[in-house]
């Protein structure tokens, strides 16, 4: 979109030299002005995004004392130490399990809700929207606190609900959410999926509403039923939105932190310590070894990059762009 107007009046190097001084002065002034408008943003991004990419790499090659005052270059030691540690691979396993637990459920639920919300709902429309969108404004910290209360093993609403629905006979039979390794991970997955749902439904609904009404009219003429219309019109036409949601959700799940810190602090044992939580603990809580933590941060970034690449290479082919 921008390329066309960017190239129209840009002078080549030779024409610049041949220009009268007045015009050249104006060009120079315009260029300087453009850069001035960008300066605050570029300084901010350079200091806090671009430069840290380099300095993080440098940190990952150092052995750093806990107070951060002594550095020693150790080459790839931190990476070797990480990749040969069973604890690290456990965090990778937890991370992947977490992604598998949150992303598919979140996407399926949000598409179903988006399709339902796109139906003409009359006066109830804003009510449903409010009830369903609301998690989008809740923070990960508050989500953690709310679910900690809901998961209470003795008087919690969730176990009480399971009891009422007949899944368990007494409250004692219900899962002791944060003492059990598997249930603790499930608990964190449910809480995170819940918070992410508001965002997902909003984006998915925008995708559904973006579909031109005429496609449905044509399908109705052809006698397609509701399910056929969803299957052959809605889903293919929102596939770019779904693909965007898939990528974003996988990245977000890789970065889950707040709910874990509030609900389980990585426990019991290391059952909910994902890669990010491990980086945080190593850098700021346990060993305070920021060299080792930086190496793990690099490995995490690399993994996110690879995952995104795989999705682009495999899923993107099946996305239907209009």
């Amino acid at each position: 979109m921008a390329q066309s107007d960017a190239t129209t009046s840009q002078p080549t190097a030779s024409s610049l030299g041949a220009m009268p001084t007045g015009r050249r002065w104006n060009k120079l002034r315009a260029a300087v002005e453009g850069y001035l408008y960008l300066t605050p943003t570029l300084i901010g991004l350079t200091l806090f995004v671009f430069w840290p990419i380099v300095s993080s790499l440098n940190l990952s090659l150092q052995r750093i004392s806990p107070f951060g005052n002594r550095f020693r270059y150790v080459g790839l030691d931190n990476y070797i130490k990480t990749l040969t540690s069973p604890d690290y691979w456990e965090t990778v396993r937890v991370t992947l399990f977490f992604v598998l637990g949150t992303v598919p459920t979140g996407l399926i639920l949000s598409v179903a809700l988006a399709i339902a919300l796109a139906y003409p709902l009359g006066r109830m429309d804003p009510v449903y929207r409010t009830l369903i969108f609301v998690p989008v404004v809740i923070s990960s910290a508050v989500t953690g606190v709310l679910f900690k209360w809901l998961y209470h093993p003795v008087v919690g609403y969730i176990n009480y609900g399971l009891l009422q629905l007949g899944f368990i006979q007494t409250m004692q039979e219900g899962p002791n959410w944060f003492a059990d390794k598997t249930w603790a991970l499930v608990a964190v997955i449910v809480a995170t999926t819940w918070r992410q749902l508001g965002f997902n439904v909003i984006v998915a609904l925008a995708g559904v509403q973006n579909i031109d009404e005429s496609y449905y009219d044509a399908a109705k003429v052809d006698g397609a039923n509701a399910w056929q219309r969803i299957r052959h019109i809605t889903l293919p036409l929102i596939s770019p939105t779904l693909f965007f949601l898939l990528i974003i959700n996988v990245i977000y799940s890789f970065q889950a932190f707040g709910e874990i810190d509030v609900l389980t602090q990585g426990g019991p044992g290391r059952a909910t310590t994902n890669m990010v939580y491990s980086i945080y603990r190593i850098a700021f809580v346990d060993a305070r070894d920021r060299g080792l933590a930086s190496a793990q941060a690099y490995l995490l970034a690399l993994m996110i990059l690879i995952m995104s690449y795989i999705q682009f290479a495999t899923v993107n082919k099946r996305v239907h762009y209009q």
């Binding site: 921008a2 960017a6 009046s9 315009a30 260029a31 453009g34 408008y37 960008l38 605050p40 943003t41 570029l42 300084i43 991004l45 806090f48 995004v49 840290p52 300095s55 993080s56 809700l113 919300l117 139906y119 003409p120 709902l121 009359g122 449903y128 969108f133 609301v134 998690p135 404004v137 809740i138 923070s139 990960s140 910290a141 508050v142 989500t143 953690g144 606190v145 709310l146 679910f147 900690k148 209360w149 003795v154 609403y157 909003i202 984006v203 925008a206 939105t241 965007f244 932190f257 810190d261 990010v276 700021f284 920021r290 933590a293 930086s294 941060a297 995490l300 970034a301 996110i304 990059l305």
Partner: protein, 287 residues
């Protein structure tokens, strides 16, 4: 447009089974989704001895503000509220000002390297925060900004997302407006503030709301960069508050604290839902 849809809606219809199923599905799922917040709301108004009960029940028998009073005095929630307000307010102001000016340059001005710089800015969106937060912590600490407002705000003053979103919008503003302003002798600076910004206030507002929410709800950075109760934001305050009170099972004040922490964002959600949804939907459609 609304008249057309209204006519379609009031037209009498047969009892539509699909419609009924959809209404039921939305009502039940909607209530389930908002349950955690509804429970927190009612719990925060229950009397302390009615909170941990079996079986649990929803509505308070007697409404009381006691939990809010306890939360407010047991921990400096007032101070946390002030900290969050300053931190989020500053972040929003900087992000809006910086993004408007950069987006304007990318959309309307011509200078060498413009497109290349734009891709650089967009590229920064792909960098996960985990990759940069340790060096940022080291840097902010080394200049003595740990545990200060500057330290909370500085890493988030520039927003690549804001630049991208506003540039996309500025590109839709007719170029003739810019030319006309120039002919009238307005400088670029004046055009930006007196014409472009007022014309785009819907989009800028949507971005500002979005920026406020992300700033207010931040967790990892405020957690590591603050180390005293006096400098913590609400999100971090509620975490420490819960950890100290949990053993005493003091859930009333904890829920009151949660209501304080999510209050401002809930209010924004209820009064500015349309702009908020617009801002979020834009992330999906343009991506």
């Amino acid at each position: 447009m609304s008249t057309v849809t209204t006519i379609a809606k009031i037209r009498p219809r047969r009892i539509d089974r699909t419609g009924l199923t959809i209404h039921l599905f939305l009502l039940i799922t909607g209530l389930l989704i908002s349950t955690p917040i509804i429970i927190a709301f009612f719990t925060s108004f229950k009397e302390p001895n009615q909170i941990v009960t079996y079986p649990p029940y929803l509505l308070p028998k007697h409404w009381t503000f006691a939990n809010y009073a306890t939360a407010w005095t047991a921990t400096p929630f007032g101070r946390h509220l002030l900290n969050s307000t300053i931190q989020s307010g500053a972040i929003v102001i900087f992000q809006v000002a910086f993004s408007v000016s950069a987006a304007y340059a990318f959309a309307n001005l011509e200078f060498p390297g413009r497109d290349w710089l734009f891709y650089l800015v967009i590229g920064s969106l792909m960098v996960p925060f985990e990759l940069v937060f340790i060096p940022n912590f080291v840097f902010i600490s080394s200049i003595g900004w740990a545990n200060t407002y500057q330290g909370l705000v500085a890493p988030f003053m520039a927003s690549a997302f804001g630049v991208f979103m506003l540039r996309q919008f500025f590109l839709t503003v007719p170029k003739e407006l810019h030319d006309a302003a120039k002919i009238d002798g307005a400088s670029n600076w004046r055009y930006m503030w007196q014409i472009l910004v007022p014309v785009s206030k819907g989009s800028i507002g949507a971005f500002a709301i979005f920026a406020f929410l992300s700033a207010w709800n931040q967790y990892l950075w405020p957690l590591i960069i603050t180390n005293s109760d006096q400098m913590r934001t609400l999100q971090i305050g509620i975490r420490f508050f819960m950890n100290t009170l949990e053993r005493g099972a003091d859930w009333g004040p904890i829920m009151a604290g949660s209501m304080i922490a999510m209050g401002p964002t809930l209010v924004i959600f209820l009064v500015a839902q349309r702009q908020l949804v617009k801002g979020i939907a834009m992330t999906g459609l343009k991506g």
